[in-house]
Amino acid sequence: MRPTLILAGNILLEARRSGLPWLALACVAAAIVLAAFVSQVALTESLQLQSALAAALLRACAAFLVMVTVASSTVREIADKGFDLMLSLPLSRAVQYIGRWIGHALCAALVALLFSLPLLLWNAPGAVLHWGLSLAFELALIAALALFFSIALAQHLPAVAASAGFYLLARMLATIQSIAGTPLVDTNWAQRAARWTIDAIAFLLPRLDAATRTDWLLYGTPPAADYVAVLGGLALYTVLLLAAGLIDLHRRNL
């Protein structure tokens, strides 16, 4: 347990020194200013517009920051051969991988906390708590995703692109399924095959469309059972990604 915590601590220290706190603060400031500016032209629902716009921007910025931070840190360590040095130590690969992920997940939790605070300007604390906790789980999943792609691809740009593509697809898939399932679409074999393929992909992706919803801020928190199911789904997929990453790491001849 102690090596895991030391690795996690090193990750936190690196994130602090990399400028992540300043970037996060800049994102918060930009979201608040943009939301306030745009809402000036709203004739009604100005507070809801500010809240919805700020929440959408903060969620997107948080995902991007975590992806890039994890990819940068991991790829740099691989390039500097620091990763190979760590693997030569008498520490199991699982301890090193999980330790890294815990460090990044803690960074992600701090980002989620910081990004939740401005939403208190427009929303009840309970709603913000629901949103912020879901964002923390979502960012921990993104950290696991970016860590997997970073080690698998060992290049910064492909790792970020793969993580971003996966994340965007997971967020949009429910809408894509509803478009593919419209009764106005001709049901020839190609259309049916496309629909089945989309449905099959949906089974393999996390339900990010159900997580960190702006609806919770504007229209009230979800039922407890639904909320726990959402968090449970995110946690399950995070563990799945960690397992995938460990399998990939163990099969490598390093």
């Binding site: 004739l43 965007l168 809408t175």
Partner: protein, 231 residues
């Protein structure tokens, strides 16, 4: 650093500022509303942030044909296409009141009766899908039908729909009795004051921008009524 490099940078920056200043300003907004996207396309574009993309889309269409030098607002706006936009936005976030607010309080108050009717019918169709949430907009539509369009039959149809379809016990009695309200010999200002007073007293209007907008409308109505009475 070489002096020529700094000089070249300064010259290029000055050229950029000058070229931007020479371009004509884009103050006038377009009159022709483009075809609306489907609600699924809006959801896709918003990455699932339905509440945010619906409201941003409302701000987008709000700017069309609304210029300070336009004496008749929305005179060239295609209302058929406008209603398609409002339907798509309402479908994207059904709990947002912005499309209905705009339809009932802005687009329906067009001096062109045909365009006004198109906006009112959109409010009526939307009301039937969620009567308990959307009755305030149909109540305003009934007032517009009576006092602006002078169409008592249309106003009664809307008022009767409020009485028939709303089941929420929290809906105030003056809304349920709107048909009587329509038939009474009450002028537009008195009717608007009663309705607005009722909405404010019930706590339904909580957004400061909406409260400000409605207060300005009431003041404009008072000035118009006073001017008409003095003639």
């Amino acid at each position: 650093m070489p002096v020529w490099l700094a000089a070249a940078f300064a010259a290029l920056l000055a050229a950029q500022i000058a070229s931007h200043g020479l371009q004509p300003s884009t103050g006038a907004v377009a009159n022709d509303l483009p075809p609306p996207p489907k609600s699924t396309a809006l959801r896709l574009a918003g990455l699932g942030e339905d509440a945010a993309i619906a409201r941003l889309a409302m701000l987008y269409i709000q700017a069309f044909d609304l210029r300070s030098d336009n004496p008749t607002p929305y005179q060239r706006l295609d209302y058929g296409r406008l209603v398609e936009w409002l339907e798509a936005i309402l479908d994207t976030d059904p709990r947002s009141a912005y499309p209905l607010f705009s339809a009932a309080r802005i687009y329906a108050e067009n001096p062109d009766p045909a365009k006004s009717r198109i906006a009112l019918e959109f409010v009526y169709r939307a009301y039937l899908k969620a009567p308990n949430a959307r009755w305030p907009w149909l109540a305003h539509a009934a007032l517009v039908a009576k006092h602006r369009l002078k169409d008592l039959a249309l106003a009664r149809r809307y008022a009767a729909a409020i009485d028939r379809h709303t089941t929420d016990p929290n809906v105030p009695s003056w809304a349920r009795q709107m048909e009587i309200f329509i038939l009474e010999d009450m002028n537009e200002l008195e009717a608007a004051k009663v309705m607005l007073g009722g909405l404010l007293a019930s706590g339904r209007i909580t957004d400061p921008a909406e409260a400000r907008f409605l207060k300005e409308r009431l003041e404009a109505l008072e000035q118009r009524t006073a001017a008409a009475a003095s003639r």
